[in-house]
Amino acid sequence: MNEVIYELTIGDPVNLLWVGIGTMLGILVGAIPGLTGAMLIALSLPLTYSMQPAEAMVLLVSMYVGSISGGLITATLLRMPGTPASVITTLDGYPMARAGKPGRALGLGIMASFVGGLISWIFLALLAEPISHLSTELGDFDYFALVLVALVLIASISSKSLAAGVFSGFLGILVTIPGESPATGDTRWTLGIEQLNNGFDLLPVLIGLFAVSQVIHEVTSREKQVESVSQVAPEGILLGAADWFRHLGNMIRSSVIGTWVGILPGIGANVGSVMAYSASKSVSKDPDAFGTGSEEGVVASEAANNATIGGALIPLVAMGIPGSVIDAILLGALILHGLQPGVLLFRNNPEIVYTIILTMLLANVVMFAMMVLSAKWISKLATIPRVYLLPVVIVFCVVGSYALNNRMFDVWVMLGFGVAGFVMERATIPLAPFVIGFVLAPIAEEKLGAGLQAANGSYLPLVTRPVALLFLIVSVVLVVWPMMKTWLRSRAKEE
């Protein structure tokens, strides 16, 4: 362990350089809608062929940390989430920026990202091995019930217009139907279009809904500059001790939620930020502010999505089970360098495990420094006149969607969902429930399907397995509670 620390810091400055380069590239790619960390890491993989395994992991893990963090910049300033993980950040970060506090919104996001990364790093460093064994104890029905909890949270984050939120959520689920059934692998609803066999990919749908629809919105606007942030006040990026202290509870809670969601395979940063956001809203003293520029909302979302990094690395280093798409690529990188991930890695190549763990810490610190130092400059992004910004953004959207699978079909999907997003916005149907439904439904269907197949069609395990039952009760409560609250409130009003 000491050797690794030495190697990573003073012994071999090359590694420090890789941390810097990786984090910077990650932030950059994370901030550009259409380019994701998964893409960057997958595409950089061949470049690491000639590196030492440890060096390669340093570079790739730094990119991971940077890319999840960078998304908050464009999410806050332009309402275009740079990465899927920061969709929830747009809900409050953007209203804050519009209200003339872009610097503070960025500052809160950066602080929360840093703390989220740190807390999940503590989990990673201390509990990598013991925790990972827990995840195999959970069965398909347990996972299904857990995802159900996240799904019904749709209802609680769209309390302003419940009917519109629920409709949007179901629409998102409906969009996952065409293509391959996650439960059986059969294709359905493809209308004979072979390209549709894989359904609609997450990335083009998200780019379409958020970035392209925003571009369409801007094109129709009569303002000269991007409507988002009219005056940029970059002060407030470096927050005072009072701010750190005020948001500490929220950050710890959101980070712990994010870490645990990260540990569970298959559900990544997107779900982590949704769950933490809803949790913060339900304990908040001012829940109505959520969605209109609540500081707590920004903090919860960003702390949680960064915390999923450490969480997802836990099963990866301990058992070779990837917790997210990016982790799956990291797993491929280990194999590429002739390292067998899993319990053997701990025994045969402990230096690799410690390198990964230490890199996460270093990259987190570097990310914080880079973001704080550059935020002032980055926040100017919002003052670029539309004639420059929009053409560049839309070209990146097109190229990014194409590069995902090397096919034009995804670009058409992106354009289609751009129009859909624009229409939904005009009809005041919220987009967030759509995304949650779209992301979670395939996981829910896969887990339910696998569970039913294993139980020969019986739903009984949903109530006989204690974990599944617990989550099931939680989700029922989450559905009933908001309704109860509205009902009680309206009764109180009448009296």
Binding site: L43, L45, Y49, T136, G139, D140, A163, F170, I173, L174, I177, P182, A183, T184, G185, D186, T187, E194, N198, G199, I216, E218, V219, T220, S221, R222, P265, G320, I321, A328, G332, L336, Q340, P341, G342, L344, Y388, P391, V392, I394, F396, V398, Y402, A403, N405, N406, R407, M408, V411, W412, L415, F422, A441, E446, L448, G449, Q453, A454, N456, G457
Partner: protein, 461 residues
């Protein structure tokens, strides 16, 4: 010189550098001999997986040893059990510049009815690399041999849970075993990749699964126990595992990577490429890498490969992959729920439309006076239509016109800038004299093209 002229000079230099680089830099002189340009290798999976790693290893060996005058460019087209990529390769020009690497999934996808085409729609080039499969149970499982396991599956048919990747080779391993032991039936559950199957077995959610030997070795200390290996003889790395053959099962099988050209490719090109792959498999660095993953540097071409392919097709087609249908009709339920929620929304909106509107306006006034003002100025909805139309035209041009990405994109960017800048006809001149839009429209496509093509080696349309 003014700032504008400096910028113009930079743009000019970049454009010249780009043209120069393309004319002289790449160094390839056109000749008639195949191959005279880069060959695209379609990998129908995402990056980082088993097939992708294998493909990139061969790609690197070809480049490092100079087996071909031209480079092989890997193109990942993942999704839907490799059928998106195989569909794309099938429709490519059979000119020898598109090939594909894909294992038995090409056969199983057809057998399970996922797609209508199979190996007959391609020209097989070679079969390479050989990885045995291991049938494994949890460490605390009562079954110690394959016979015990199959006996249990016969005594209580459809009770033992087999973690599979439905419609993929792992699923067929179970089906072929069942066929060898009449009366035995597993209950298949969808688990996907090796890590998920491993997790299901050691977590007690499935009784048995099949793994590649490499997967098995990396997972076994996590609590797996092998009951059989599919090689003809015991494997030197894991001599303790009995073969299925010595336990009386006719289950001799190895996962292989097959290489394919689109149907109708010149046989000479096929045999040239087969030779290249064979030389790669003999290269020491490839052998070393394969040994690490417990794969054999096996290679078969020509008649031997054809024969083996036919046996595999026969074996896979001889079993029935349909599982009992125990799942609810999810598309139906989701459709009903969506329609219902839409109905509720419409009814609510109609009923509350007046009061809602009032409330909204009061809210707006309280929060932000300028927002109300903005509401008064109607957005230019026509622009939205124009923009979508323009983008659609741009995409069509990218897809079907043989014009360079950079030129089409530059024109498109100019159009978008004109549209969102709200320029009128008389202002258009201003666009060129007062702004940097034209410079941007030239530079950005060049940069994007350079970064993607050279750094990420993604061929833009």
């Amino acid at each position: 010189m003014s700032q504008r002229n400096w910028i113009r000079l930079v743009v000019l230099l970049v454009v010249l550098a780009d043209i120069g680089w393309r004319l002289f830099g790449s160094g390839s002189t056109a000749n008639d001999q195949y191959p005279n340009r880069a060959i695209t290798l379609v990998v129908p999976f995402g990056p980082g997986g088993e097939s992708d790693t294998f493909a990139r290893m061969i790609q690197k060996a070809v480049k490092d040893n100079g087996f071909l005058d031209q480079e092989i460019v890997v193109k990942n087209v993942g999704g839907a059990g490799a059928t998106i990529g195989s569909g794309q390769a099938r429709k490519a020009e059979p000119d020898g510049y598109t090939m594909m690497i894909l294992h038995e999934a090409l056969i199983t996808a057809q057998a399970s009815g996922k797609v209508s085409y199979g190996p007959e729609s391609f020209e097989p080039i070679a079969a390479s690399g050989k990885t045995s499969m291991v049938i494994a149970v949890a460490e605390d499982s009562p079954y110690r041999t394959l016979t015990e396991l199959m006996q249990a599956a016969k005594e209580a048919p459809n009770e033992l849970v087999f973690a599979a990747n439905l419609g993929a080779p792992v699923h067929y391993a179970g089906l072929i075993l069942e066929k060898d032991f009449p009366g035995a039936h597993f209950r298949y559950t969808q688990k996907g990749g090796g890590a998920s199957r491993f997790e299901a077995v050691i977590g007690g959610h499935a009784d048995v699964s099949a793994f590649s030997l490499g997967e098995y070795v990396s997972f076994k200390d996590g609590g797996l126990r092998a009951v059989a290996i599919s090689s003809a003889e015991r494997h030197p790395e894991v001599p303790e595992i009995q073969t299925a053959l010595e336990q009386g099962f006719n289950f001799v099988h190895a996962n292989m990577h097959f290489w394919w050209f689109p149907k109708g490719t010149d046989p000479q090109k096929v045999s040239l490429m087969a030779g290249v792959i064979a030389r790669c498999m003999a290269a020491p660095e490839v052998r070393e890498k394969l040994a690490l993953r417990l794969s054999e540097p096996y290679i078969a071409t020509g008649g031997a490969m054809q024969e083996m392919l036919q046996t595999r097709i026969g074996k896979i087609q001889s079993v029935d992959a349909t599982s009992p249908d125990v799942l609810p009709n999810i598309p139906l339920w989701v459709s009903i729920a969506t329609a219902t929620s839409l109905l509720v929304l419409v009814v609510r909106r109609l009923r509350h439309s007046d009061s809602d509107l009032q409330q909204e306006t009061t809210e707006l006034i309280e929060e932000e006076p300028e927002a109300v003002e903005r509401k008064g100025r109607l957005p230019r909805l026509g622009n939205a239509g124009l923009f979508v139309l323009m983008t659609a035209l741009y995409l069509l041009a990218l897809e079907y016109l043989p014009i360079d990405f950079r030129i089409i994109t530059a024109i498109y960017m100019l159009d978008v800038a004109v549209l969102c800048g709200g320029y009128k006809n008389e202002d258009l001149q201003k666009l060129f004299t007062k702004s940097y839009v034209p410079e941007m429209a030239i530079l950005v496509p060049l940069l994007v093209h350079f970064v993607f093509q050279s750094f990420f080696s993604i061929q833009l349309p």
